[in-house]
Symmetry: C2
Subunit: 332 residues, 2 copies
Amino acid sequence: MVTSRHVAQLAGVSQMTVSRVLQGSSKVAPATRERVLAAMKEAGYRPHAAARTMRTRRTATVGVVVADITNPFYPQLLEAVGRALDEADQRMILWNATDPGEASALTALSEGTVDGLIFTTVAESSAPLEEALRDGQPIVLLHRGLDSLPCDQVTTDNIAGGRAVADYLVAAGQPRIGYIRGPELPSTARYRERGFRERLAELERPLAAELTAPGGFSHDQARAAMRELLARDDPPTAVFCANDVTAFGAIDAAVSMGRRVPEDVWVIGYDDIAMASWDSYDLTTVRQPITDMAHAAVRLLLERIDDRSLPPRQQNFPSELVIRRSTANTTL
Amino acid sequence: MVTSRHVAQLAGVSQMTVSRVLQGSSKVAPATRERVLAAMKEAGYRPHAAARTMRTRRTATVGVVVADITNPFYPQLLEAVGRALDEADQRMILWNATDPGEASALTALSEGTVDGLIFTTVAESSAPLEEALRDGQPIVLLHRGLDSLPCDQVTTDNIAGGRAVADYLVAAGQPRIGYIRGPELPSTARYRERGFRERLAELERPLAAELTAPGGFSHDQARAAMRELLARDDPPTAVFCANDVTAFGAIDAAVSMGRRVPEDVWVIGYDDIAMASWDSYDLTTVRQPITDMAHAAVRLLLERIDDRSLPPRQQNFPSELVIRRSTANTTL
């Protein structure tokens, strides 16, 4: 069967553009519209009846599922997704949800309340999620991925991010490198730790177990973990944290004990949320390109809503080390 | 007509309990259920046909409309509302929305996708909102109220909060009191400023125009405003900010200029979000009882979904000054 993808290739445009032409959107330039219509004719493309029914049933509403909205990373990601959807004339409904919410979002999808779903906080696969994907429901995983699940996923390269931090700390000559670990399940925490550990081992500076502590993804848990590390006779001289919020917790632990950052201990986070650049923290961190990720997720989802036959696509954005005062602005 | 309210009064229980008995909820103790059923019989209460139809049409889903989710106050409020809804066996759908989203939420309400709406960020009334209220749609305003609109509203006493800050700063002998103003429209910002100004005037310490600056509700704008105030020959010795996020901006301005908080300048915020107690800010602020407010809003909404004939109800929670290190822990 000729799909919108064939038409897009033939016309040299994106599937989104083909979709817009089908919807009569005013966002397509007249010349482009002509080219797409000609390509449809040439390819013998006819949106078949089911697809047409589906299209007319569209709600132009996309569901976004999130947990842990008190971690400011997620509101920032949601703002970006909301803006990207807005630019595509789509509305957004949010589910702030752990498992029950996930089921309710999947129900809304199967009932047609929303045209597709973006999951931002999956930690494990689940039977309802796998079933929805088997049924070809339009779903994109954003930020956190699932290796085991062949579906559209938009992530950043957390392994490379963890490696970059290891390179930076070793090159800066830090004698005792510590790590405040994230939770076990999310891909983000696992990959950051894997990249960090692997690169330290390659550099013959393996991470010492006694200089690591579990911080979850929460400020308070990380603060407690850092207080323990700093209370040691040989405390770490630099601590990498699984995300920015836990890095703030680590800095606050130092403040609470009268230690100075970066003079007594360096702290590094991950995400580069807006707060990371606030003067009180001024945090060295690994930047995720939040806006680009949001746009990519929306694009993949709208393409899949338009053509469920597309193969699973995975987009893994590069991450970037941003050096600020919490590591003494040492440049390498 | 005998309503669920009459039954509740007769049985000495809340309307919520009557509603739960009608729904066959397992959350009602057997003895209470008996009492409610007896009261229904005594009062001759029969949920009439339309109400029954409406009840069977219930989605057990409530919509919550919010703007500005990157201000951490709102994620915290949404978490609390989500938990309160969860306890009442209701699901939550969020609209992150300025005006277009508001319309979309009202459409979802009129189409029955949600049973009711909680608005957390109204700044002005609007024709669609007023029309929905005239139609008796279940809507509750939470956090920000609208004086002009006779409807269910849950707020805190922002005037009393502003007055308490004025009392505190004058009693502490602060010679030059400044103010970083919030946006013009939201009731929260207007009432905080009104209480602060009025009380300062009553204490014969009227707010000096040259020691005030507009900070919106944003960190960066407040930081710029504070830098201007601190650059004066006679800078303020204490600055009250319209919310916590702008107080963080004010503290960060001081940090960026090498000024110490509280030694050189005191800073006070409003809301008492979780971050306010983090060591790097340790902010004196006015606490809003977020959990209590969320529960009240959910209760009012569920009661109204059950009985649209209820008169408009307004609940105004007291606020509380919480003194921390950003004002030198002066106790009075």
